[in-house]
Symmetry: D2
Subunit: 340 residues, 4 copies
Amino acid sequence: MTRVAVVGGAGYIGGDLVRILLAHPEVDLVAVTSRSLAGRRVDGAHPNLRGLTDLTFTDPGRLGRCDVLFTAVPHRESMGQLGRFAALADLLIDLSGDFRLRDPAVYAAYYGVEHTAPGELAGFTPGLPELYRKELAGADRIAVPGCMATAAILALHPAAADGLLTGEVTVDARTGSSGSGVSAGPENLHAERSGAMRVFAPTGHRHEAEVAQATGLPTRMTATGVEAVRGVQVLCRVTLAEGVDERVLRAAYRRHYGEEPFVRVVAQKRGQYRYPEPKLLAGSNYCDVGFAVAPGSRHAVLIGALDNLVKGGGGGGVQSLNVRMGWPERTGLGFPGLHP
Amino acid sequence: MTRVAVVGGAGYIGGDLVRILLAHPEVDLVAVTSRSLAGRRVDGAHPNLRGLTDLTFTDPGRLGRCDVLFTAVPHRESMGQLGRFAALADLLIDLSGDFRLRDPAVYAAYYGVEHTAPGELAGFTPGLPELYRKELAGADRIAVPGCMATAAILALHPAAADGLLTGEVTVDARTGSSGSGVSAGPENLHAERSGAMRVFAPTGHRHEAEVAQATGLPTRMTATGVEAVRGVQVLCRVTLAEGVDERVLRAAYRRHYGEEPFVRVVAQKRGQYRYPEPKLLAGSNYCDVGFAVAPGSRHAVLIGALDNLVKGGGGGGVQSLNVRMGWPERTGLGFPGLHP
Amino acid sequence: MTRVAVVGGAGYIGGDLVRILLAHPEVDLVAVTSRSLAGRRVDGAHPNLRGLTDLTFTDPGRLGRCDVLFTAVPHRESMGQLGRFAALADLLIDLSGDFRLRDPAVYAAYYGVEHTAPGELAGFTPGLPELYRKELAGADRIAVPGCMATAAILALHPAAADGLLTGEVTVDARTGSSGSGVSAGPENLHAERSGAMRVFAPTGHRHEAEVAQATGLPTRMTATGVEAVRGVQVLCRVTLAEGVDERVLRAAYRRHYGEEPFVRVVAQKRGQYRYPEPKLLAGSNYCDVGFAVAPGSRHAVLIGALDNLVKGGGGGGVQSLNVRMGWPERTGLGFPGLHP
Amino acid sequence: MTRVAVVGGAGYIGGDLVRILLAHPEVDLVAVTSRSLAGRRVDGAHPNLRGLTDLTFTDPGRLGRCDVLFTAVPHRESMGQLGRFAALADLLIDLSGDFRLRDPAVYAAYYGVEHTAPGELAGFTPGLPELYRKELAGADRIAVPGCMATAAILALHPAAADGLLTGEVTVDARTGSSGSGVSAGPENLHAERSGAMRVFAPTGHRHEAEVAQATGLPTRMTATGVEAVRGVQVLCRVTLAEGVDERVLRAAYRRHYGEEPFVRVVAQKRGQYRYPEPKLLAGSNYCDVGFAVAPGSRHAVLIGALDNLVKGGGGGGVQSLNVRMGWPERTGLGFPGLHP
């Protein structure tokens, strides 16, 4: 059994990661840290885990060595503690934003602070097996992309990689309330957010930079919080290169994703679920992607959907771990989501 | 014009009271206080009021004289400051829990603190025109009942007043998230409360004591937070006195409420809205009441529904003000609610 | 009193129109028709109106003369019956899609059927006082724009009219479930739609053509159903003309909308309600508009929000009626919406 | 591998049963029937299963022999076709209401029709391992109890079986919208049901009879639809026998459920999840139960919560199947539910 610890396990991403790791047959979850809840039961913060674990939170300062360390801490903290983390485990899987962007100047522009460990950036492999499976097999440091970035990158990748797009990409991203985290402020009270459509980042959301980096396309992202607990959906408006039509697009998606365990191409003629719908994906590690072309035009909309706490969070990290360890990629990630 | 001020106007109850008062044709809203937001625009805290007022919050310490003072402050604070409030206006309308219970021992039992102004309790008239219209006409101090208490009292009143009930009443009360207030903690984040059915007071909710006091019947109340922003619904299980059947019950409701401007009897044979439904009442001052008798039995369920921030809050206060001032009772309270 | 009738009053738009008309001080609502519910009480279909009206639905075939006829019927039916409607009243206010587009070829392209009364198109004035107030003063036939079109047109208008934009507009439109109507199919069951983000028109939504017509700008619209009952929000991505910045934009919005009774400019520096939020507008006739410019760029997002059943439905029609009759424009439309 | 078929697999209960069976390591799902969707893909009706199955719906008339037959058909149909079902498989697991009540007179009273196969009632064992594990080990016909009945029976069982209760039980049951099924009418549209608290059975709900039968206690049940997709919660008001207090109650729950794989006792001192919360149980086979005693009284509230489509539906059936086949009881039922 591989000994795994989670740093920052009191939050929503950390909690869902713990849920997945507890059921993972190759993993022995040895510690979950929380500064504020040290000594308290893990199932107190994550009551869905009652009966599944007797773990208590470990004070981060008392964490011992393990094989794999997941870090689910706020950005800045991750780069600040990288040395400590690296001393604790040979394999690091970081869920923060600190090691996602290769260029420290881009980091500074989007995060508003200088990167304090720019020399380490090149050492991280993106935790996105669909694009970096080969690199992940030998990686010792993995940075899982942001939730909206993951959805957008996977929606765009087949078309971008095959050169089927031209010009700028604009991404309209919508996200549920769990993305604001367990320590969100009063603006995320149920009474405020229920039924709301909150444009919290009309321009320049941080995940925009990740999409541009992964696709090589100039990108504009707008982010809105809509009523859902889990779930991200992105609509990417693109211009197709000359001669590209829906048939060509479909073939590209099939070719790139036909064998992918966690990407489904959803672009049907009818039905209320003919395009990717995050409602179906709560708890699942799938990212559904689809597309629609405006008839007689080169204008297309590429769509992606996922659960921000699974494929866009800890699930993406565990999938990367599976790849890295040579375990079957679906291990521990079998839950398909519910309907209705 | 009658000069009115609101103490504690930054919360949900205070804010909705401000909305009603701004549109009230007899009222000049001269001040709204908030300790934390003093000097800031009122429509910053209550953005639905943009364009309707340029008021800024007044520091409570700088509040001047006016004709009517609404106090929407936490319990304990209201009894603590009664002297100050009384010096500011001749007519006080209190929305806190401090002056609802006549017996200070009952107050102590339900609120966990001694009442600090027990001699003032008898000076308050309940702000519930359906039961105390005559008394309100001459009242100078009015205490608006709690939201769930209002719904339960109005659901029970015709049957209780006419001696149609026997034994104990059990009240199952459900409430939306606005009842937790604007300063609710992280347990009321959207991600936590969406889709939840939270039993927050399985026994002994404070409003239980108000129901027992108003109806004279021993009462048990259970309170659950369900998914809605506004809205309270109560199901009161009762035993009918011998010989009482649905026909008798219906006649009692008609007789008591036939002329009431804000109580509608809703007990129909079919349709999804055949019983009181708070969804229809958001923003409205109606309390809908209904009933169902188990065939061939003396077991009945009396049902009430209202908007906790209107009829169960500031709207009930304004209705009482209308009665007190001799204005038409519906003044300023005309919005009927929406469907769907 | 002006005698008004509503054709097609059993649906959501018709029902909310009835709510507004019943409280309108200049209007005598003489009839509401419904084929399927003829003879049944209006408050059976619209239970929020209990106690406010004793009207029963009239069979459409038995409708008599009146002063003003609102028609809230499906598209195709409106153009098919125009002759009959015109014989019933001198002033027609149509809420369907049939008379919104001036060019019958565009109608055919977007609605998939030929227009059967192309000669009548020029006789209709758009029911959008912000753009057509002068024309409405003398209009006898008024076509209220679609809900998403209204939001987008009002969001774009100041910038478009002043020549501040260049190139194509892409509109990301989100709408609540009431837009699907009372006769929506099983795909709109609560169990299916709760928490969903349903891309129902990734390209070519009908309202797209109205936006292009009103603004003169090539337009692409994507429409998604999100979790809310009422409410439309549009995000319009635009490219600013050279030299246009946020200051210029803000000045244009102020100049165009500074005196508008039902448009508020919402573009603040902070707060969860710093951009237009439909949650605040349920039941209200406001359309809130705002904007954000990506720093150091000519990329901007123009945002609009409204209640699809009020400003984007019957409320827009009543506002147009007020203009047409010379009544104060706010008459009967005073409800500001709720928070929370 | 055991060959299993599902009759009536197009609905919500059937669909979730298919989800569980597809992942069950001992089961080979050989057929899923639907009259209306025969020949269509199963993942068309249940899009969360995309990529997990290529099954198409079988016409019920063409269903062949198998080892186990689950029947998820409407009541009346199940008893009408029992002979056919029995010819198809040696083990029947029925999810309808037809074989839950032992007394045909009670069935007639609650279902409004005569039972057409009263002689078969005694042949069915309730699919509730917590009460009937021994009997299930040898059962060939299993009737899974109703969702609200399951929650109430499990909440009441320890106290009822140990003789800790006296007098009547009243059950306040709340359920999410999936309970109305995929063919629910327009009253279950999202626009109608969102935020609603719909008292659909103030007295005499059918599951009431099941609770009385299983506990031996006179029972009154009230049923309300609240806003959630999945989830049932019951509040059972009881009177404790003399001398019974919270300590005695807790001991009974621990003794009865300490070893149960799918019942957790949740009755804590603090926290928003201190009582059973169905929100945590979506997709899981747990039934959480808890209790609260009014201080200084014999009045108690016993609480139960579950997912109506899993523990209150197909999951309860699969758990019973596991018991019957001698497989580990948790097989195929490991998903714990999500937070948030």
